[in-house]
């Protein structure tokens, strides 16, 4: 049976990347069942692009604005009609055999989600973190390493939002994609994966389904890995664990402890920057030493995010119950 695939691209004010993304989708060896773009941009540039150059693409609107990626995903998912719904980022460009490779593992009926590899153009990424691709560790942390290439299909715990797909029926049975992951929106893709895994589904990483991820700049404010990012990373992670596994699960407690332990790195970094001499023996400028404690603001961002995650999780769980989404 040849399963049909709907491709959903969510975007916010990056029409130049959407154009390239759609051009690559046009070069696929097998055509997808449909392509859906969900646009949350404050302007009409993406709408204009699609209307003029890609009339076969379905354009949907998310009026909630920036920082609502999960809501955009749900809008796309709710409209998609393919057996499989694949999500790619607007700055992720597919290889010609991406769709065929992504579809193959679904021949196994236990498989409910398939993620592909994202090549970021970083030297050595093919082998970096080979043993820790897409895992939920016992201390509650999630590993990424989706640029690594294990050379074969492997089971994972979660998938990368830039290149992931799900069996539509399995995700629909859980109530679809959940929102309430604000900010730079980390964790919403993991939420989908962990819920499916919790229900006994199998998720696999298919390295042959490749996208080239060019990591476009954020258009909704901030930079990658800035303090805002660190805050939301911790906050949303707490929300994720509490929503998927509940308050009593030890993962949540262990994650909080892991986060606190991890802050030692910043203290060491500050001590290092405070030293009068550099490792090569040269003298460190006085101003550099004076500003050494600034690095601790990163720890502050992380710990504040951790603390903020608990009330946020309480609210999110109440909303889930009200919406009957599991």
């Amino acid at each position: 049976m040849n399963l049909t695939v709907s491709v959903v691209i969510i975007t916010y004010a990056r029409p130049q990347f959407v154009r390239t993304c759609l051009e690559h989708l046009g070069r696929l060896n097998s055509e997808p069942h449909e392509i859906i773009v969900v646009d949350a941009s404050p302007d009409d540039r993406t709408k204009q692009l699609i209307t003029e150059h890609f009339p076969h693409v379905r354009l949907l609107r998310n009026d909630l604005g920036p920082g609502t990626m999960p809501e955009s995903r749900q809008i796309g998912f709710g409209t998609a009609t393919g057996d499989i719904v694949a999500f790619i980022d607007d700055d992720a460009y597919v290889d010609p055999d991406w769709l065929d490779e992504l579809r193959k593992p679904y021949a196994d009926p236990r498989v409910v989600g398939v993620g592909g590899r994202a090549s970021n153009g970083i030297e050595g990424e093919e082998t970096k973190g080979l043993g820790e691709i897409g895992r939920l560790l016992p201390d509650g942390r999630l590993t990424g390493n989706f640029g690594a290439n294990p050379g074969r299909l492997i089971e994972v715990d979660h998938l990368l939002g830039a290149n992931m797909s799900f069996r539509r029926s399995a995700l629909a049975a859980l109530g679809g994609i959940r929102g309430n992951y604000p900010g730079t929106c980390l964790c919403e893709e993991s939420d989908i994966s962990l819920r499916l895994k919790r229900e006994g589904g199998t998720l696999v990483f298919q390295p042959a389904a490749l996208v080239r991820h060019v990591a476009a700049p954020y258009t909704s404010g901030g930079k990658r890995f800035d303090r805002r990012y660190l805050y939301y990373a911790r906050r949303n992670h707490v929300v994720l664990l509490a929503r998927v596994y509940g308050w009593r699960d030890p993962l949540l407690r262990r994650y909080a402890l892991s986060t606190v332990r991890a802050q030692k790195e910043y203290v060491w970094a500050m001590r290092y920057r405070f030293a009068a001499r550099r490792p090569d023996g040269s003298r460190r400028p006085f101003m550099r030493r004076l500003t050494a404690p600034v690095v601790l603001t990163r720890a502050l961002a992380e710990l504040t995010g951790l603390a903020a995650g608990f009330p946020a999780a309480w609210i999110a769980r109440r909303r889930d119950r009200a919406a009957a989404v599991s």
């Binding site: 080979l130 043993g131 820790e132 691709i133 895992r135 560790l137 016992p138 201390d139 509650g140 294990p150 074969r152 492997i154 089971e155 994972v156 262990r254 892991s258």
Partner: protein, 279 residues
Amino acid sequence: MRVSAYILVGDPNHLRESVSSYYDHVDRIVLSYDETRTSWTGTPLPVDECLATIRELDRDGKCVDVPGRFARLDENPLDNDTFQRQNALDAASDGADWVIQLDTDEVMLDPAQFFASLRRADATGMSAMDYPARWLYAQVAPGRYLEASTRFWRPSASFPGPLAVRAGTRLRHARQTDTLLYRVDMRPWNTDPHHPRDAPVHEMIPPERAVLHYSWVRDHETIRRKFGWSGHAAHYSLPIVYQRWASRQRHPLRTVLTNPLRRRDWYRLVSVPENADMK
């Protein structure tokens, strides 16, 4: 998933419990021993006694003899260790996906858990599985042991090398290999002081499901002989090693309570079900 095992035959202590713990879960067991019944350091080994025990419990005919010449006295004993293991591993790899490398003084407390972890390691594409072994130092009373721990008496795993490797693996040193490791531990964070603090832990199991390593759980005469045949004989044969062991066995409570005062060699007192009660 086809699983084989290999055994280095030569130590009768806990041999029966060790092999029985996983016998039903493997397809084949390779028995590796020196043809001259000699250890890596040239001392005699009770190989025939061990073989007789194995023949008794091999009800399905899974065990295969693969003797060889491993007592190369001009070589370092640990190199002989690696050489014999590699030879056995190559023989066990034939027709298998994974090979268990458990010593005969190591007993799986919960084989179902061990093989469930191995299936996860296989599914996630790993090449070897580190599984925690609880290192028993001495028996102090029936069912009571001194076990290696952290300074403040928390369980501490030891990983002498992966206890399961993919067929065809090349060993670097004894059981150790340079390959992708699936690491199971007894806490969410690494508990082995010989590994980096941030060594990843992929799966956590309770201590009751670990492997028990009856490493130095012997009577006085046997422990002295073990110090002679071990690959670590050069260190173990120092008089202080035996003196400490004997003293700690005689004064277990003092040994445990003085943990915080020592820089290493920390222990806790544990009860372990007698062999008949093991799963």
